[in-house]
Symmetry: D2
Subunit: 309 residues, 4 copies
């Protein structure tokens, strides 16, 4: 399996990247970056720190879009720390000039054209780069083997607003373009699945206490987030009884499709109105349009994974 | 239990009304009508036919609003038949002049003021009358004992559009006013619960085959709908493997609160945008506003009922 | 000419009311109040102060709606003072119990039914009461002789937002119902006309310096607004080179139709979206729908008045 | 003056291109194409026919975007004919392979980077290419000398809907990005100016009767449009008493800035809601934000040109 990973490397992206690098039979062909958790310049640096952790500077990193399709970029820097990686800086972090000169959108279009049907795209960020690649090259998505998306929802449950998940809310127009127009197989890991598939804190303690470069890195960057958000606030801790993953879950579904226990097909789009539902994913699984939809118009939405994870 | 029932009598309203009339210890104080399934004039006639079935012309019927708050009334006449009751006319139907002269909105305000804390309101139609009563008398809802609403949804699943349930979609602005401003206890029976609590066709066959004036009436008015929508279309029948109730379910929850197995509290509002989500109910159960909400600002949403029904 | 005036008495409403009372051959039949510049309770008191000024307590005042059709009432208390009349209180102001017990909406419906074709309605406030009267009695507007509205715009120029005028923005849904459904002749005095028909400050000085109970009252209530907004801020004064009237202008057009120099007919509606245009009036003067519209569906929009005013 | 022209060559674009080619001291550096009046493939062919008319195949043509930022492309093929140029085909039309291989968006970014501050961009089409160039290269607009846009409106008057002009309505999101984010001087020629600056039919008769390759070409492609829309329909002709230009007017303002008689500065954006105002330009000339806006955030909107044209 040959992956191109589009990311706005926060903490969960970092872990998802490490999962991919540590998985046998998986080749990470390239990493593209997109605005999201923090500025794209910081995200570029964050990706390089992940590469350093696994000593894989051979994988090219392409810097991508700095703003959503229609602007008004929001960041969630408060959650993943000001630098998106828990504000646990590395004095010997790799420098920005390791980022390739080619723009992420161009690189995506070029790679897909060079090896049609070869690459699986894993999207862990707002979908700005992907939508632009589709606009610049209408044949882009046809050249992909498949696409896994962390983002959206299928029961209207949001995390950044009542109705919307962060990645989709940050660029609803891009998400809408990708869901409606992509012609390769698209698999969506939405926010409700993240909630359902959350881990116990006991499990997390064991997981994060392993000894390996990757686990050490995660422990380092995730420490203050866990402290800030859960440990110190009794009431919040009570409410957040689980360790919820997002990008990791999408990566797991990509790397190991047998994890999927339930899923459904639908025509998906995104609410683009200015009102409260802006950014909500709309999965039409039953309407007349869906009945007559061609396979390449449909998305697969995962609704349950095996507990064995 | 003393009920005021607001209805746009279609077939499911008719059955819900019959349930109330046949329930011991329940007094139906008044019936108010609202545009919805068909024109309010036809709905008035339909209510009278239900009263005739149970011989209860002593219950006053007040005619209500002919259009939603902002106009653009949609009807679903295609589903419940052109007359809303399966196009199975009664040659001896009661005449329209049995409807009271007082407008439904005035009657609602007057009755609630005459006996504060006494009446439970059961809403089986678009919420136009109720929202107007609240606008004309800001103290209206405080005077109610409680309010049960058939309408809306809590996972974004619609029946009239991808995102919206019929009653809420027909008057989203009214539904929004009611959910956000009502201060008595509000219990919502939304579309997802209707889907979950659907009956098998076997059960339905037994149910509809009883011998009683009410069952005879239902068999008569529901016959062609069942035929038109399910029996004659193999593919559709395959999809619709259950007999789904709506107004009946809300009435059941009102009449027998012990049926409720699961529910949650939330701040609820309705998407009023012009886009695809128009009419969708937005249940905010986790946000900061909810955490600080007063009890009278919250709604109860039922998510499961006991299978014993 | 027999007028019913619906008002949210701020300063410009007060002046418009005085114009009507001082105009020969005009009978003010009733005044209805609506939320808007300030709370409806304060507005009721403000109207009574105007009645006191002209000693006309014989004119009945009916209190109306406290919130817009869909809620979220905004007030402009900052502009007309905290009490809507320049914070220049009258120690001997008439008490609230002079307001009639009947609700404004009921009174509107009743009066129009009692004397069909007799009354001209002048709307100087958000249109909540009027829209509700139309919903409760679909024949309401047919019973009016005509209707003059201060509100909206025809070139998208707003005063409370970029796109919307205050009265329409405060209750866009009500404005939409009134413009689309009213069947008597409707004349709109929008914000662009107010800007065009503004007076020089020199004119205003002469006008406000007259000696009469009405002028004395106006001088008293408008003093601080003029000071606060124009006199003390050189930059703002530079920009606001004119004395702009709003409700006065609508009243003038009603009282003296020969003032109108230019106007056009259109199908009018109001933008109800959540975005930047919310509350903007949309005058369709050229589309296919307009070509085929019946006279009673059209509105008249005034675009120029004679300078002689 | 060195121009890059972005066009969806319909008839008015064709004439605007001819104006540029026939103007001394003007160099047309490149032409980029965008979906709009018809498919971009057809537009490419149409541009080549214009180049043939003036024998200027030396000017490179770059094919651009096939759909608006968020999809849902509308075409106005009915107005400019099925082929966008009046359905008056040329048996010896130049073939598509004269179009360059580089994508318009790449070409725009590349050229602006190669000669910063050198090129003036004239936009006669939906703004998809331009918005994408700005997303891919945030410094793109800073590298331009200036930008002239045919599109939008400043009094809410539309031609394709009540509120929206065709170019902006076809890609509202792109227009919003360009107006809000472009940092070079932007001059907007909106629909109200087109209406104001329309020519008499007498003038048009003289104009179109000239003898030159360009006039011959225009006569040929515009003939059937004039016939279809005006000559044959007495009622319509009555309404359309003028020959209205659009792209030609924007080109004229660009080529000859002394034509401008009135203009104003504003912060401009575009209504992106799903409602009736979608695509309307919102010129904020008076709000607080405008008062504090930096020069590079502002747009210039032309409101009058000299009659001498
Ligand atoms: Ca991410
Ligand atoms: Ca019903
Ligand atoms: Ca007023
Ligand atoms: Ca054009």
């Amino acid at each position: 399996m040959r992956l191109i990973i589009d990311t706005d490397t926060g903490i969960d992206d970092a872990q998802a990247l490490l999962m991919a690098f540590n998985c046998p039979d998986v080749e990470v062909v390239a990493i593209t970056t997109c605005h999201g958790n923090v500025d794209v310049e910081q995200i570029n640096l964050n990706v390089l720190r992940v590469l350093k952790t696994v000593d894989r500077f051979d994988v090219p990193v392409f810097g991508g879009c700095k703003a959503s399709l229609v602007g008004d970029r929001k960041t969630s820097a408060h959650y993943h720390g000001l630098d998106g990686l828990g504000d646990a800086p590395d004095a010997h972090a790799p420098p920005a000039d390791l980022i390739h000169g080619e723009h992420a959108v161009h690189a995506l279009v070029r790679m897909a054209n060079e090896n049609p049907g070869e690459y699986t795209l894993v999207c862990l960020a707002p979908l700005t780069n992907i939508a632009l690649a589709m606009r610049l090259d209408p044949g882009f998505s046809k050249n992909l083997k498949g696409c896994y998306i962390m983002g959206g929802n299928y029961e209207g449950k949001g995390n950044i607003t009542s109705c919307a998940e962060f990645n989709f809310h940050t660029d609803p127009e891009a998400a809408d373009v990708v869901l409606r127009e992509m012609t390769c197989e698209v698999t969506v890991v939405g926010w409700e699945l993240c909630l359902k598939a959350a881990f116990s804190w006991d499990w997390y303690e064991k997981f994060i206490s392993q000894e390996s470069p990757s686990a050490n890195f995660m422990r380092r960057i995730e420490g203050s987030t866990i402290d800030n958000y859960y440990s110190n606030d009794a009431k919040l801790k009570e409410g957040v009884t689980k360790y919820t993953t997002a990008d990791q879950l999408a990566m797991a579904v990509c790397l190991c499709s047998s994890l999927v226990e339930n899923k459904f097909e639908c025509l998906a789009s995104v609410s683009l109105s200015d009102g409260i539902t802006r950014g909500q994913m709309i999965p039409d699984a039953r309407g007349r349009a869906m009945m007559h939809a061609k396979p390449e118009q449909r998305c697969v939405v995962v609704t349950n994974i095996k507990q064995a994870l």
